[in-house]
């Protein structure tokens, strides 16, 4: 069974491994200890101590924070309960005019702002661009991934997390609260 040194996995993640070696890794059966080494590498790179349960993107991870599981940026900024789309706690910038689009797309490379808006989600802590959406007005933000963390850890990895959580999307609860606040 394949297994790689953590240093090599770091070089792989950073795009520093020669392509010929990457191809060898791709051809081999996968290394079953990758997830643990992956988490260890990411944990060593952040300035905070909460345990990473699952990396979502290069910037964001779900971490264990006391009894809660929250989404946290590598810079330390927290976005709240992992069952709520983290985008609701991000900064957003929308390009929906030709002038705004021209900073990224010029001339024939520009989409039509009457059809589509470009939504940029930024971490309020560090200014990292976390996700970009290109969708027509009316499209709710994609909640890209709601993991079943308990099944993943208990059934797939054979370990238990400190406590179980009901695996339900709670995004609508938050917007209902916003709506109630507006009505008040």
């Amino acid at each position: 069974m394949a297994s790689y040194e953590s240093e090599e996995i770091e070089r792989l993640i950073d795009g520093k491994l020669p392509w010929s070696r990457v191809q060898e890794i791709m051809r081999e059966a996968k290394d079953p200890d990758r997830f643990d080494k992956w988490i260890a590498v990411l944990q060593s790179r952040v300035p905070w101590s909460e345990r990473i349960l699952l990396p979502l993107t290069p910037c964001l991870s779900i971490v264990q924070k006391q009894a809660e599981r929250v989404v946290k940026c590598r810079c330390g900024h927290e976005f709240g309960d992992y069952r709520v789309n983290w985008k609701l706690a991000a900064l957003i910038h929308v390009r929906e005019t030709r002038e705004q689009l021209r900073e990224v797309y010029r001339g024939r490379e520009q989409p039509d702002p009457a059809w589509i808006q470009i939504r940029e989600y930024t971490c309020p802590g560090c200014g990292a661009q976390l996700e970009v959406e290109a969708v027509p007005r009316g499209c709710p933000p994609d909640f890209e991934f709601l993991p079943d963390l308990d099944t993943f850890y208990e059934t797939w990895l054979g370990r238990r997390l400190p406590d179980r959580k009901a695996n339900q999307d709670r995004t609508l609860e938050v917007v209902r609260g916003w709506s109630a606040g507006e009505k008040r």
Binding site: P32, C59, V104, P111, D112, V132, V175, W178
Partner: protein, 736 residues
């Protein structure tokens, strides 16, 4: 895949029913809890797999050589496969991997429809289908199958598919986006026995000759399909003689179950259980263009939503809830064809080992909303599937990003792929340089950039979504069958989006029309976006630009050639394209929204500039290695303003040597400045949500195509509608 009640007069049908029962009861295909032949002798198991795969590839080689059309002979846009008696694909040739699922379902349908009894299935028979109502995807893809009998027993099938140049669509050519209904979809071959004794019936060829515009190419390709199938049959019979019929019967079942297990295990060991959602959209802007019927004078936007759930057993459930309504163009697809398209996507991102029908038992696809582009017949039984791939491949592109995200979370960054490129086709229809009528698909579209990886850029002009064997053929070959000369075939700068890792870049073909009294340029949609960009801003990247072709007719190109002045070899600056800078023309269209057919024929010295897209990027563009930006600048693959403005890289070019150097200190400062600017201009999501919902309620700034898309999406998918209204806190009876 529900078979009806077993019938003793139909033994293969009985086996099919039994197979379905065994899968349901045991979770294993054919009830194979153990792979006995594999366990007994893994060496022979592997060796015979290789032999069968080589046989299929031999079928491909023979079939392509016998074929006539450039698509098959030079582009290899065809596929041959070996099947179980009940239809499941066992192994396939190289070529267009989008089709094994369709071919498998085609053979299965022959069994389900009772063909064992009537018309009967005998050695030497030839069956064919291209009808979407009975499992085909679109009529230019002809699916052919022949049974393989060994001493009187049906032991397997050989099959083939190739993409014809013309199937008699209402508009010449093979990319039937303009087809308004099934009545424009050309010549049907509906689950037919088209030959016996290894020969076509005469009336098959008579029909092809009276109903398609390029009958020599279409019949040549039909002979190619049959020749490849016969090649497979004869070689397979040799294998059976050598290794025994019992062994062959067992082992071909085990290959399919083995592949199912591989797909399940790959998900379980490399992905994460949970729910993944990815929106995507596709435009078809036809209002004001030359169309066939009044109802086609309309702009359409497709909603292509993907929801993917992985359960504790690593089973996948896919859903298209929210898909928008059918369209009066040839861009609808049936659920059957969609399942096969899904197998293609799955083969790229999940199942790489033994490519066959196995993974189809590892997932379920919810029946798409009735009346949607993905299930049109309940609402319109005559909806066209002229180029059914168009929305399907755009939807499938989300599958790449979805699995890219799953692999990333698990740490397998080397398996990550961002979203796919698009497929904008070019067909030249009219009189060719030999004086013949021609409807010829350029091969350039078969070679896009590949998606960004988790740790590297994608590759340029190396891949396309419907086949990993992307091949755009030699330019000289293209010039031999179309009345054009290439003025350029260049890497298109910045066509792979902007991110830490960019997508592989596409290329632009520049054609000069030559040696024809007149020919039309059909810029087709086999899955493009021309008004919008894809929703593939993975991990903070910017999606690749829309597909925008251009052309000029009545030009002064000959004068410029005679005067040895600069010609048009590439697209040039997006705000000052070379076409407009260098040419004077009666009609000058430097920035067109695709798809379209040129309203007047093009003539000698007219110019077409046809870009083939790159794929999608991933990651914050500010995290791109400045050295990668410098390398791209040096090759002309990115532009200085993009380096500075999007990647925050400050670079300068030495006027003498042309070499670029990066100022790392200035780059760091520029990147900090951009991050501060993001924090300054970004607003809390809640504030934006509050303002945005009011704009939605007022339909503010919403194009009619957007409104119509939402109306049909919400009408066909009540659950999706409730969630969308809930997110924006709109009244329950709110309509767009």
């Amino acid at each position: 895949m529900n078979a009806s009640v077993p019938n003793p007069e139909r033994p293969v049908h009985g086996r099919l029913v039994e197979n379905d029962r065994l899968l349901k009861e045991t979770g294993h295909l054919f009830g194979l809890r153990e792979l006995r032949r594999k366990q007994e002798n893994p060496g022979s198991y592997e060796a015979i797999w290789q032999i069968l795969q080589n046989i299929c590839n031999t079928g491909w080689t023979v079939g392509c050589k016998v074929s006539s059309s450039p698509i098959a002979t030079e582009g290899g846009d065809a596929l041959w496969a070996l099947h179980l008696p009940t239809g499941e694909a066992v192994c396939t040739s190289r070529g267009i991997t989008a089709h094994p699922g369709l071919l498998a379902l085609f053979v299965r349908s022959l069994i389900e429809l009772g063909y064992e009894e009537d018309p009967g299935i005998a050695a030497g028979d030839v069956f064919e289908n291209n009808d979407p109502h009975y499992g085909g995807i679109h009529p230019v893809d002809f699916d052919t199958a022949i049974p393989i009998f060994h001493r009187g027993e049906l032991v397997a099938w050989a099959s083939a598919v190739s993409h014809a140049n013309d199937a008699g669509y209402i508009v010449p050519g093979s990319i039937g986006f303009m087809n308004p209904s099934v009545f424009g979809d050309g010549v049907p071959v509906t689950m037919e026995k088209i030959g016996a004794k290894d020969r076509f019936y005469p009336w098959y060829e008579m029909r092809i000759r009276s109903r398609v515009r390029t009958p020599d190419w279409v019949m040549g390709d039909a002979r190619g399909r049959l020749a490849g199938c016969i090649t497979i049959r004869e070689r397979v019979l040799e294998v059976i003689e050598k290794y025994g019929r019992d062994y062959f019967r067992d082992v071909i079942q085990e290959y399919v179950e083995d592949s199912r297990r591989y797909a399940v295990m790959r998900v379980k060991t490399q992905a994460i259980p949970g729910r993944l959602r990815k929106s995507n959209f596709k435009d078809l802007a036809m209002a004001g263009k030359r169309v066939l019927l009044p109802e086609q004078d309309v702009d359409c936007l497709f909603n292509l939503p993907l929801e993917l759930e992985i359960d504790a057993e690593a089973r996948l459930r896919l859903s298209l809830q929210g898909a928008s309504g059918w369209v009066p163009f040839g861009e609808n697809i049936t659920p059957t064809a969609l399942v096969s398209a899904l197998l293609n996507g799955y083969s790229h991102v999940v199942g790489f080992d033994m490519f066959n029908s196995g993974p189809m038992a590892a997932w379920t696809l919810d029946t798409p909303p009735e009346g949607s582009w993905a299930n049109p017949f309940p609402a319109n039984y005559f909806a066209s599937s002229g180029v059914a791939w168009a929305p399907a491949v755009m939807w499938m592109s989300s599958l790449y990003e979805a699995f890219g995200r799953l692999y990333y979370m698990r740490g397998y960054v080397e398996e990550v792929a961002a979203g796919a490129a698009t497929t904008m086709t070019a067909e030249f229809v009219g009189t060719d340089q030999y004086g013949n009528f021609s409807a010829a698909l350029a091969l350039d579209q078969a070679s896009n950039g590949s998606p960004a990886r988790g740790m590297a850029d994608g590759e340029n002009s190396a891949w396309c979504i419907y086949t990993p064997n992307g091949d755009f053929g030699n330019a000289e070959f293209g010039e031999s069958y179309q009345p054009v000369l290439y003025l350029g075939r260049n890497v298109e700068p910045d066509s792979g989006g902007y991110g830490k890792f960019r997508g592989g870049l596409g290329h632009t073909a520049v054609w000069m029309i030559m040696n024809t009294p007149g020919i039309s340029y059909q810029c087709g949609c086999a899955g493009i976006r021309s008004k919008i960009v894809a929703n593939h801003g993975m991990f903070g990247a910017y999606p690749a630009a829309p597909d925008r072709p251009s052309y000029a007719s009545g030009t002064n190109l000959k004068e410029r050639i005679d005067a040895r002045l600069p010609l048009v070899h590439e697209r040039g600056d997006p705000e000052a394209p070379d076409l407009a800078v260098h040419l004077r023309a009666t009609t000058l269209e430097p920035d067109l929204v695709a798809p379209f057919v040129t309203p007047e024929p093009l003539h000698e010295y007219d110019v077409v500039v046809h870009p083939i897209s790159g794929a999608q990027a991933q990651g914050d563009p500010l995290e791109r290695d400045p050295e990668h930006v410098r390398a791209d600048l040096s090759k002309g693959w990115t532009r200085e303003w993009v380096a500075r403005q999007v990647h925050g890289v400050i670079a300068a070019q030495d006027p003498a040597s042309g070499e670029w150097t990066v100022d790392l200190e200035a780059t760091a400062a520029r990147r900090d400045e951009i991050r501060r600017e993001r924090l300054r201009r970004g607003v809390p999501f809640r504030d934006w949500w509050s303002a945005e919902r009011r704009k939605i309620q007022a339909s503010e700034g919403m194009h009619p195509a957007v409104l119509q898309m939402w109306r049909t999406s919400l009408a066909a998918s009540p659950g999706y509608a409730a969630e969308l209204r809930g997110f924006w806190q709109l009244p329950e009876d709110f309509e767009f």
